[in-house]
Symmetry: C4
Subunit: 356 residues, 4 copies
């Protein structure tokens, strides 16, 4: 039986997970105000479709940092795909590749970069947390670049992890058979005290550098020639700084998992696009579950959108096939929404599509 929309896949995906994994994937920070607002933000925006346009050929293709992709919908980095499915990140990578799009691999994947890279036939991006021990970060960046990563996504909204309270309450922990091979050993993880709160938080707090500033981008430039995308920008001020530093901008509030009551992603997008003023590419993630969400983000100036949980629910529901189905359904929704808006290419999507 074919699923009809992402909500159905989400239901299947949630049902396939145990409580530990489900809480880890589903939860947002604190009262989950931002988690909900990411989705409501899209719903609040109303579309102004245009008629009597030849829409016999709607083309969803675009480029992400020059790389041709079949769809502006790509995969956001998320940790621990092994919680969702035995194929873990390999399943996600194959799903993305089969739809001709890019996956962003998390530093905290359960599968080594090199193995994922082999499946990512369309190309992949690598997400980085800067470690206190810079040599670890340098090594992981160089491994990613060597493996063929097309961009380095530096996550800037997580000097500390947000408080996802179910994980604190029930002491989220990675099951013993899963490791974090890119940047640490299973032994390190096992050593983390889990008597209190989330194991991940404790682990993360120990490794990640909280001192990183705009000046550290120079160090990163020194160890890689890849384009740098700053993930987690929500203001015009930071967007301006990003552009000045030659970085691309990924508008995100980490799926509502970091700072609760932060502005929703789609509400933050316009000021970021205006500030960047074409100097860099702008992306968005957070709450994307419908083709019209993608269309609205593109209309407001995003070059691409990325799926966090939606991809995870797909992976949990059906491994690679689930990820493919998710991307396929969403891209078909986008294609249909474009046709019904009288637009045949992503380049034609502009702000006049959105009602003020």
């Amino acid at each position: 039986e074919q699923t009809v929309n992402l909500a159905e896949i989400e239901a299947l995906g949630r049902a396939a997970l145990d409580q530990n994994a489900h809480e880890y994937y589903a939860s947002g920070a604190n009262d989950e105000v931002t988690l909900r607002d990411n989705r409501e933000g899209f719903r609040r925006l109303k579309l102004r479709p245009r008629m009597l346009v030849d829409v016999s050929n709607v083309d969803t293709r675009t480029t992400l940092l020059g790389l041709p992709v079949q769809t502006p919908i790509a995969i956001a980095p998320s940790a621990f795909h092994g919680l969702a499915h035995a194929d873990a990140e390999l399943g996600t990578a194959r799903g993305a590749a089969s739809m001709g799009t890019v996956m962003t691999l998390s530093t905290f994947s359960n599968t080594p970069i090199e193995a994922v890279a082999k499946q990512a036939s369309t190309g992949f991006w690598f997400q980085l947390y800067l470690y206190r021990q810079r040599e670890i970060s340098a090594e992981v960046v160089q491994r990613a670049e060597a493996a063929g990563a097309r961009a380095l996504v530096l996550t800037v909204d997580a000097p500390f992890l947000g408080r996802r309270e179910p994980n604190e309450r029930n002491r989220f922990a990675l099951p013993p058979h899963l490791g974090v091979p890119n940047a640490g050993t299973r032994q390190e993880l096992a050593g983390i005290e889990t008597d209190m709160g989330s194991q991940l938080v404790n682990y993360f707090q120990g490794l990640v550098d909280k001192t990183v500033t705009w000046n550290d981008l120079a160090w990163l430039r020194g160890v890689t020639s890849l384009p740098i995308v700053l993930k987690g920008i929500l203001t015009a001020e930071d967007a301006e700084l990003a552009a000045q530093h030659g970085c691309h901008v990924w508008v995100s509030n980490h799926g509502g998992r970091q700072l609760d009551t932060a502005v929703s992603a789609i509400d933050a997008l316009p000021e970021v696009v205006d500030a960047v003023a074409g100097r860099s590419e702008v992306y968005l993630d957070g709450g994307v579950t419908r083709g019209t969400d993608v269309l609205k983000a593109l209309a407001l100036g995003a070059q691409g959108v990325f799926l966090g949980r939606s991809a995870l629910w797909g992976l949990a529901a059906g491994g690679e096939a689930g990820v493919t189905r998710t991307l396929h359904l969403l891209n078909e929704e986008l294609r249909l929404a474009m046709a019904l808006c009288g637009k045949v290419s992503v380049g034609e999507l502009g702000r006049d599509l959105i009602r003020n």
Copy 2:
């Protein structure tokens, strides 16, 4: 027992339908945001009634494209009235005629144009989907004109059908005893693969021309002398183009069945009316279930409003009598609302009736 409002008729109508038909009539696209917003849009608008006016004679009569009607409330085109009642479009046509108003017959009716035309003593309009095979469309248009249609309503918001997910999930199909005699044969329909998704969508996708543009209006002018109404306009830009092309404008989002999160009909109306600036008539459909809805649309500049589902519920609840009751109740609500607003003719309804 007399029904007291359209909600009661709707309940009776829904109860009279099997699941296949009910889902087809009731559903909107995707999350049904626009379906709901059509109705909420009316509720949000607050009225400013005027007092101490002689309202002993409230006249709801008006004209639609010059044709005198007893009420500004007419019937929107909808496919497959045979799902609602054995009398199918004949019942609807008789109901409209008995109230002195116009019915718009869908290309996808279960009853041939000519048979419906005979019942439509007040006059009828014909709704057109332009087919890839233009000769089919030309023929149907000429049949409609010959049968006495007063206007040609070109539906411009459906180059593809929107995704009404219940229909996809449960593979909506037309029961074997119903055909689409205006524009195809039952055999064609039977041949449509229904293993996946809605039969209608597959059928429609095969027939309807997705390349239609403003330029094609010239072709249509070539095959008919009827006034042309463009159904599905939601923006000032398209309204301007419509007026330039000598067409009338039907503000509609197809009852929330096409592009989900499209602007609600009543919210789109003012900018369309302003753009048209009197050059063409403007109509509206979407979510009309109360006399005050009609009054608000007229106050904001519509020449008439059209009932989609409301008419179908009436037909399902009681055939011709149900349609008549629906139109009658709604027109009496309009008449009362006009009286309570201090207005005795539809020409007096203006924007000052609506609170900003």
Copy 3:
């Protein structure tokens, strides 16, 4: 056991009524949007209280058309108090008098004007519907004046009765033991066909004049020397006309019983007050159930507020004592709200109390 607020009295009052009476008192027109919005309108307004004022003596006294009253809270006209309590309008009049305030007696009272007048020791107003047979109206007006009425309240928002659908559905009818002695006989009423819809609507439709305009005020001036209050004004335009015609203005949507989706009373008040610009007194009714509601109406320019259903619930809950308790509780809430806003007299209440 003492009731603590009007909500408790309302619960007792509702419980004391049979379905016929309860539906008559409780219902609003159609979807009851305005009925609810009357109350929500007050809740939306936020107060800006002032501190460090000597509030040891808070005085709620004011005048209504020059008549001194102990409280700006008075009683709106409502038909058929006999449905609530055996004492009918006598109970209401005594309750109002005991609190030193004014009752407005409805044309459709179950008790004759003269009997009510005897109980109304503080003074009473008389509400008028203009009848087709003007001599009936002239007679009733002269009886009211002779009985000591202090003002004539001409209801201008009801050329026809609004559609309170429960009353239509269940054919509201006055029980046989109750009459309408001011303006008709029980026999007339019994003669009304009640096979369809509300008996009251049919009765009313037959009697009341729907042709009344601003010009008819001259006729009214001719038969009475009482001040005239126009009840049911909701716009600046009509307020201006009222003032020009030397009338006072009662902002009301008839408790949401006439035109559904009409603007809420408190939202309409400011534009009316501005238009009148001090030439006439302005009153308000609709949704008043809290002392802060009264305070907000006064702060926005009303000279007094009137209770419709709140008084009826009191009467149903406990006859005269219930009415007294209702007025007392509400006035104590007002007094406390004034103190907590730093205001000691109603004259001090101004717009700066309301946050924009």
Copy 4:
């Protein structure tokens, strides 16, 4: 088992109380519109976090009237801590002290000032109701000053107590084992008629001076040299007067317990801060339950925020340890929120953090 957020502590605290105490702590005035709006006001404000700032050392320290504190979160005055826990105000004081912050002791504490003062090692403030018998107030002020109070908090929003209806309905009374040693005797209290309404209201009404005005501040200055904080200011006008009188300003609506539908605390803050224009310190209480609430208040110009119920739930849940846990959790949430906003000291928090 560790509690994860204040909601969990609140649930434990509520469960530990009998109905009399629970209703006293939990209730707000009338319909509790302001009680709820205090919390919703925070939720409505969306944050604009900044990235790539070195946040390895986030410092929540600040000063309150020059007194160094570890956190801008302090304790608001509330009556009758003995209802929550046997340690009563001693527990609260120790909790505050253990977190390096200030407690404000209510006039109506169950524990004498001097005993509380001994536990308040970081410092304490004393809250004053001005009594009709000024010598009682003078004495209590001098006792507070002698005991080491750092400020006098004059509550200006309670010339009368607001109507917390559950307390009226169920005749809230202080249990016999608890007294009000600062300003009266148990005997006085026992003497209060509790047959009707809340014992506290009756007691309070008898003692507190309702004539107090800005001029009385001179008297207060005469009996104490402590800084004076006016608690309960909600408007720019009163803030201006406070600053002119050399007083500090505590924005508060008394936790929604006084004037219902008064503006929420956080919505009132900006106009107060603007009016004061740096001449005095500004504080806020009302609805603070999350670190982001604290951060928003500080960003909008508050020098510190105070906990009313949150502290009481902590005390009820676990005595001193519960208060400490409450303050600790909230301060850690603040610290994390600051880090995630790219701010390392409270001085850096400004209005640009809040989205308009």
